[in-house]
Each structure stands twice: as structure tokens, then as C-alpha cells.
Symmetry: D2
Subunit: 294 residues, 4 copies
Amino acid sequence: MSLLNGKKAVVIGGDLRQLEVIRMLLEQQAEVSLAGYDELAQVPEGAVKVQLEQGPLAQADAIILPVAGTGNDGSVESSFTSESLMLTEELVAALPKHAIIFTGIAKSYLREICERYTLALVEILAREDVAIYNSIPTAEGAVMIAIQHTDVMLHGSRCIVLGLGRVGTTLARTLKALGADVAVCVHKPDAYARAYEMGLQPFYPPDLPQQAEQAGILFNTVPAPVITRDVISRLPRQALIIDLASHPGGTDFAYAKAQGIQALPALGLPGIVAPRSAGRIIGNVIVEMLDALS
Amino acid sequence: MSLLNGKKAVVIGGDLRQLEVIRMLLEQQAEVSLAGYDELAQVPEGAVKVQLEQGPLAQADAIILPVAGTGNDGSVESSFTSESLMLTEELVAALPKHAIIFTGIAKSYLREICERYTLALVEILAREDVAIYNSIPTAEGAVMIAIQHTDVMLHGSRCIVLGLGRVGTTLARTLKALGADVAVCVHKPDAYARAYEMGLQPFYPPDLPQQAEQAGILFNTVPAPVITRDVISRLPRQALIIDLASHPGGTDFAYAKAQGIQALPALGLPGIVAPRSAGRIIGNVIVEMLDALS
Amino acid sequence: MSLLNGKKAVVIGGDLRQLEVIRMLLEQQAEVSLAGYDELAQVPEGAVKVQLEQGPLAQADAIILPVAGTGNDGSVESSFTSESLMLTEELVAALPKHAIIFTGIAKSYLREICERYTLALVEILAREDVAIYNSIPTAEGAVMIAIQHTDVMLHGSRCIVLGLGRVGTTLARTLKALGADVAVCVHKPDAYARAYEMGLQPFYPPDLPQQAEQAGILFNTVPAPVITRDVISRLPRQALIIDLASHPGGTDFAYAKAQGIQALPALGLPGIVAPRSAGRIIGNVIVEMLDALS
Amino acid sequence: MSLLNGKKAVVIGGDLRQLEVIRMLLEQQAEVSLAGYDELAQVPEGAVKVQLEQGPLAQADAIILPVAGTGNDGSVESSFTSESLMLTEELVAALPKHAIIFTGIAKSYLREICERYTLALVEILAREDVAIYNSIPTAEGAVMIAIQHTDVMLHGSRCIVLGLGRVGTTLARTLKALGADVAVCVHKPDAYARAYEMGLQPFYPPDLPQQAEQAGILFNTVPAPVITRDVISRLPRQALIIDLASHPGGTDFAYAKAQGIQALPALGLPGIVAPRSAGRIIGNVIVEMLDALS
């Protein structure tokens, strides 16, 4: 991989993850400007703080937004400023035509504005490979929560993982490696076969309520209402639900609360338990794509 | 699962695997007729030997062919007879319209004749789930060959697996579990990410020649000419190639021989190292499909 | 295993773990009296609260003390009372000669008093098998702390485990199962060989300072001053030390603090992260020993 | 590690393993003489063939015998000569007093003669660490035999390992890693606990006959008559016994044969399935000990 000499990147807002991205860009000798970082005490050597209004975007090869992108009003969140930060249409209009806008995920505002100005928009979290890399800190975070919120060991406990997709595969493997007794709820015969090969105990959705009766911990990775009243009512009193599926999750949280079953939504774990690793996953994509353009 | 009471199955030819299929059908209380089994000493209780010419197919709900199906002349192989065994067009024409023909894979003769008489043909080995189940005995067979044909332990040896598909995934995991140092050659970023998550060392095809220089054993699962002269000429003198890809494999066997590199094609391992398990994998599909019809 | 019908057990003080022990004794139909439990709201069915002064010990077959035993003044800690609780010499003198006193570990007061009255004293945590069972929740607790207190994934991070004894073996295996890159510091050639077999990277103590230079997390299980100034001064700035060795641990905590290296003592993890499992480990020993006496 | 410059080693007899030992000694720049190698076509560069009668031992720092040592008549086996090869008392008497005699195991002849002339005798296979290293190729060999001699996959099959010592620990882990359902027969509570921690299913010897009823493969590592008539008579008809314990093993082979149960003694697996690795394990000890003398 050659270096990113001379490439100009403007990082707008973000959190701890972005510091790792900035570090990687600097390591590749990109020119890095930081907007929304006025409270960051130690500016990494080589980076400069800028104000968006003063025009740094006009020369930018890449704009790097936070994982959450922008709000639908163009607002950008930053952990490093208390000032308001906006990616206005005016600013976008000023970008060179070849500039790439990197974000984790994009809301409609960002999509539309990029389309309007025919700018390349890269939603990093939508990439299959990124989802797999992120499944690792997600699984570690889920393990941490499970250890914290139960009064038994994971080793030997009965865990049910709903879904054997990117996160489910990693999580089920991890739990099994820790000595848990792992069942997985799958939809298709090929996932059933792969689970069997992995030494997991597969079953199909219709068996979930019955399986729930023996569950110690239920981990959901499916973004659909799968942990229903019927499932919850069958759980042992001390069972724990950890819901990793994107908002609003797959659990009837209100019913779980009414039944006295502990149910925890757990979103954005990579940024919480491993921000530096999460930043590196994002940074790798940005560096690789900028490098490919050279 | 309900039983297959009254379902009539005619098993035509086959090898050790078919004995397990027969046992499973009988266990489900199907009526089982055996054609091409005249040298089988111990007929499983409940099964009867038949001659195809005497008309058993007219009442059949299912015909079960060997894994290899038929030749393009309609011939069927059997380990249990020295007589010739043929699935002629006349016999197929006599089948009830609802009958299902099960085979592992089908050649054009079988496909065309089933189409002509609008009969359901099930190619069991083409199923994704069956390919995954079969990847397990395939991986075990590959491990056995590797232990036999090297003078070092697998533990700590450098193994390269080409391809991270159904067989490659299982094989790579198995080798790693045995303590080998496992690299995998993948094509896509998502396979690269999954390999990383699995603790394997992924690389892309352009790096294969260089990777070959450190290889102890090269396992190929890709049905394309991937182990080329360039790769072979870089291998250490004591390296071993085990080629699991379907005929003709992906290795330049002639060149390997000329270079004094041991290269072994390894096909049909499930039927060789675990015929009873391989039969059960097939039998499960047949029983499940016949049951679904009830 | 037969039941403990009629066996009389007096449980004196304790924490959440003791509730599981009580449950197990009741399940085996022992008669269970609880001293120091006046604030426990839900007394398990079949158990009765007692005052030690009222003489329950005179009939006792077993006395069950907390994991920490007694203080050297005879005091006993309880999470379920705010009153003071004492195992006085007078009370011990009143015990039947066949009574067994169970504790986790014993201080000199308890040892001497048992010796004086020739009473059997069982230090449960001193048992080799109990130490191994407890190594499992200890390892899980250490993993939880590691995930919480680093900003990178464990997967792929460089972990060094000092010691390959009961805790070290379990912890090293667990970390490796999570995908960490695990080195272990061992003293003897057989531990070196076993570590190699387990896929870990063994080294001897003289190499520790050099190994420290690459460490992400250092887990100590050796009750001796092993993480010295020399080791700490070589650690990367973001390294984390988790010290699992019994008080005072093996780390120069003051020096670590001065150097800005995060160092966490982590004691009593089984009772913290998995009190119910920890109680079961203790309860299994008690039930088994009482049963053997029948 | 410094080099063995100038150290004189005489290798007497041996098999493929010795070639690796010779290679390692030469790599360390020792002077290597070979007795009993007249049929070895390619003498490694730097080594010289000698006749024992011509006095090479008088200058030797080390004598390296085969793994099996000598017969009780002083005879030494060699795969590389058809001549008789003897380590006579006269030859031993000629050795310098500082010379070390390396062997795998020693019979009484060799022990006595070394004692008589106060020569250091190193029985390499008696070392705890060497036994652990050798457990790895032993486990791989056992796996190979199991795959060859059963008609089912190891994955999912019920394996019982008798003994959780050096070989048992490695073998049980290996089988579990391959997806087998592994039970282990242990004698002591601490082995029971460790097996539990490893995810194995431990039981004590009195339960062996009952456990045998579900066994697919029985692996013995205990050098005592443990697989008795009672055990064998309970085994399923298709069970396989693989006996790894040193001669005469722990199986009633005659009774197994009479019952039609396949029972295979499997000795010396490292030298059979991985002679180069087995040689390296031996060579490491020799090089390290000679180096320590320098």
C-alpha cells in the first residue's frame, strides 16, 4: 500500500473512534483537518483544527463523518466540542466533485444531499466485511454484559442465540469457546447445518418457546419481534435477555419488565467496549479506499 | 416427525452408504425394495430383494439411486451385485406421476428422462445444507491423509487452505483446532473478515505464490486451476498437496510430479472415511422429504 | 447419592453464595438453621432462623461458616444482619464431637479452636478440585475486567498470563478461545511443554521484561512479586495489569500508578461475578462430605 | 543458545527420527559420527560414517542411542544397516568420564553398565516435558487410526478417553476440538474438575462399564488392565478400542477378539506418524543438555 501523501481529509465530529481514524490517516501522511474538535486537548501531531465556515472543504479529497452520520437537519455530533456543528448544503456544495464522504450509516438528509451534488457517499457499516469485523467487539461486549448481569458462570450455562448471521455466528462461537452450552435459532437448513458443524445446537423458530424454558441467557441478533410474550412467559425467572438487534430490537421489553425478566438492549457495543478497535476497522476502509483512488 | 408408514421406496444399487439409508427408511416403517442387492448376505429385516423387470417401480413413491446417479446409458452401479443394473426409459415410464427420484448428482441422461416424464428429481448433493454436512467427513478425511502422508505433526505445521466455502470453512476450523498454523486464500473482503474472526490468517490469491514458500500442506477446495506451476515451484521440497476439489481438481498434478512434490487428489472422502455418516446425511434428506409429502 | 435426611446443619453468616449452599442442603433434605440471617426477607422453605446463644449448635452435624471463615477474634461476617456475630469458644465447646466445621479458609483462631476441641475442620478452598472449579468464574471475571478496562478487543490483543497453575491454565485457555494472542510465563519445562501443546506461547521468567514490551494485558496469577519495576517500566503506555494473585498480589502497584500504568487487583472474583456458581461449588463439597459420613 | 562447536557426538543406530537429531546436531556445528549407517545413501553434509571398533568413542562427548536404547545383550537396532550393531562393555569402558549417553528408554543392561563406569545416562522419554511433547503426535496418530477404522465421523461420535495424564489430556482436547462428544475416565477429584473445566464429561472408574454401553471409540492411556471383560461385553458391536498404553496395554485383547470387538494396540505413534517431529523433540533435549555443559 502506498502512502496517502497529499490527500486532504477533513474529519467532522465524532467520538473516541475517530481519534484512531485520525491517527491512521496521519500515519499514512494524509493532511488531516479537524472540525468540531476545539475541546480536544492533545491534537495529534500533524493534524490542524479548523472551522468549517473558513472553507477547508473546498480542497478536501475526503470528508469523514461520525459513525452516526448527520441528523436530518445536517447536525453532526462531536464528543470534542460543545458548539453546534452542521454539515449544511452550502458546505457540501463547495466540495470538489471527486471528494468522498465517509460515514457509518447515512440518514435521508445525507443521502439526498450527496445525490444532489453527485458526490460519492460511503456507508462503511453497510459493508459486509465491516459488519463481520464489528461482530467481534459486539460479541465481546455481549459477553461482558452477560458476566456482569448474571450470578452464574457462562461456562456450563444454557445460552440461546437468535440468528446465525454476522453477529450471531461470531457470538455463538465465542460463547461456545467460553464453555457455554449454546443453542442457536436459525431459519434455513444451511444455517442449521453450519451450526451443527460448529458444535452448536440448532433449532428452528417454532421451537423457540419450548427452548426458552431451559434458557439461562437469550441473545437476540434478529431485527424483528422474535422475543415475544410467548417466549418471555416461558423463560425461567432468572433468565437474562440481551438484545443486540438494531433499534428497536426484537424484544417485547415492556412485557419482560412486567414479568420481572431482566432484558437489556445493547447497541453500539464496538464503540463502547473497544473504541480504538472500532476506529481501526473504520480507518482501514477509509485508508484502503483513498489509497485505491491514487 | 410422523412415520413413513406405507410409503414404498425402491433402492436401486449403491454402496455402503445405501445400507444406512435403507436402515433409516425401515426404521420409519417405509416398505423398502432392493434392486441390485443379490450378493448382500444379510438383508435388513423388513426389506425385500426385487428384480426391476418384475415391476416394483409401478407402485413406488420413491426411487433411491446411488450418490453417483446413473451413467449416461442408464447404468447404475452397485457394490452388491455383479449383474448389470439399468434404469431404462421403459422403467421410468412405468413410475407413478407422484414418485420422487433421489440421487446424489444427476448426469444429463437422468435429468432428461425425468423431465420427459415430469418426475421430481432430487439431487441431494446439490443442496447447500448437505454440502455443509458432507464437509465434516471431508475435513476428517483430509486430516487423516495429512497425518499419513507427512512426517511431521499437524500441530504447529503451516497449512494453507485455498477457498473458504463450505469445505474450506470446515477444514480450516478443523486444522486450527488441531493446533496447525492455518492460512486461507480467499477472494472477497467478507471471507477475509470471517477468516480473521475465526483466528485464521487470510490472504488474497495474488499472494499465493509467496505464501507457498512457507507451506507445509496445501489443501485445495477450489474447482479451478489454482495450484499452478508458479505456486508449485515455490513450495518447499517436503510440502504436500491435498486436492479436495471435484474432478479434475485445481492442481497441475503433472508438474507437481515432475518437481517431486507429493500431490494427492482426494475425492469422495465422506463415502470412504465415514460411509455410515454419509449415508445418514443422505437418508435424513430422503426421510424428511418423504415425510413432508404425507 | 443418598439424601441427607435428618442431618442438622447450622449456617453461620455468609453472603449470596451461602444462599445457594442453603438451597442445596434443603434440596438434600438436611435440617438447616440460619444464624445471622435476620434481615433475609425470604427464608428458603424448610430453613429456620436461630440465635446462636439459644443452643442450636449442641445438635449440629455440620457448621457452615462463610468463605472467609472467622476473624481472629471469632467474628463472623454476614451480608444478612447488622448485628455482630461471633463464634465463641464457648459455642465451639458445645458442639458434638462428630460435627464438621466447613469454611473456605481458616485463620489461626479457627484452626486452634478446632484443634483444641478435636473437631474436624474442612477448608474448602484449600482443595485442589475446588481451586480448579473456582478458576472458571475467576477467568470469566478477569475477562470481564479486561473488556471493560481496555479500549481494544481482546481478539487479536497480546495477553501475557503469569503462571500456568490452576487459574493460569483456565485463564490462558479462555483468552485463547476468545481469539487473543496469548503468551504464558512458566517456571518448569513440563509447564512449557503443556503450554506449547495448548497453542500458547510459553516463555521463562528471565524473558518477562522483554515480553512486557509487546504486552496489551498482563494477567498475574503468581503470589510473589513478579510484576516488578523492571517489568512495569517496559510496558506500553496503554497496557493493563490485572492481578489475580491473593493479597497483596504480585504487582508493584505504587510504581505502576506512578508510571501511569493501569493496574487492578482482582480478588474474590467467583463470589463477585458468579455467586450462585461459587455457592454451588462449595455446596457440592459439603453435600458430598456429609453424604459420605452417613 | 551458543553453538556446540567442537562437541563430538557419536550416533549409534536408530531410525528416521535419528536423521532429524543428526541434522540438528550438525546445525549446531557439533562433530557427528554415525555408527550403523552404512546403508544410508545420503550422508548429511558434515557427518562421517564410522565403525565402533575403530575407536570413535574414545573422544566422544555424547553417545546417542535409538529411542529403544539397547537390548539386554547390548544390541542396538538400526534401520540403516543390515549388520549387527553392539554396544559392548568394552566400548563403554573406553568412553571419557564426562561423556553423556542419550537414549529414549534404558533396559537394565544399559543402566547397569553406565552405573558401573559412572557415566551419565539420560533417558529422554522419561522426562515429563518430553512425554507431553510426544503426546501431540500420539494424539494425532490416534485420531488417524480412529478415522481409518470407523465408518462414522469423529464429529458427534461418543469417545471415551481412559486417563487424563499427559497423553489423555492432549488426546481428549484434540477429540473435542474435532467435534467429538468426549467423556474421560479419571481417578481423582482434581482431574475430574479439570476435565469439567475443559468441557469434557468426567466420570470415575466404577461407572466405566455403564459408560461403555454408549461408546463409539474407547481410547486407553492407562497402563493397567482397565478394559476388562465386563467393559468389553457392554460395548456396542461397532465400537472400536484404541489402546495407547505401553505394552501390554490395558485391554483384554483376546476377549475383545472373541466378542468381535475391534481392538487395536497403538504404540510408538510419534515415530510412526511424525518421525521428523519426534526426532526434533529428542534433538531439542540433546542439544539443550550439551549446550548447558559448555
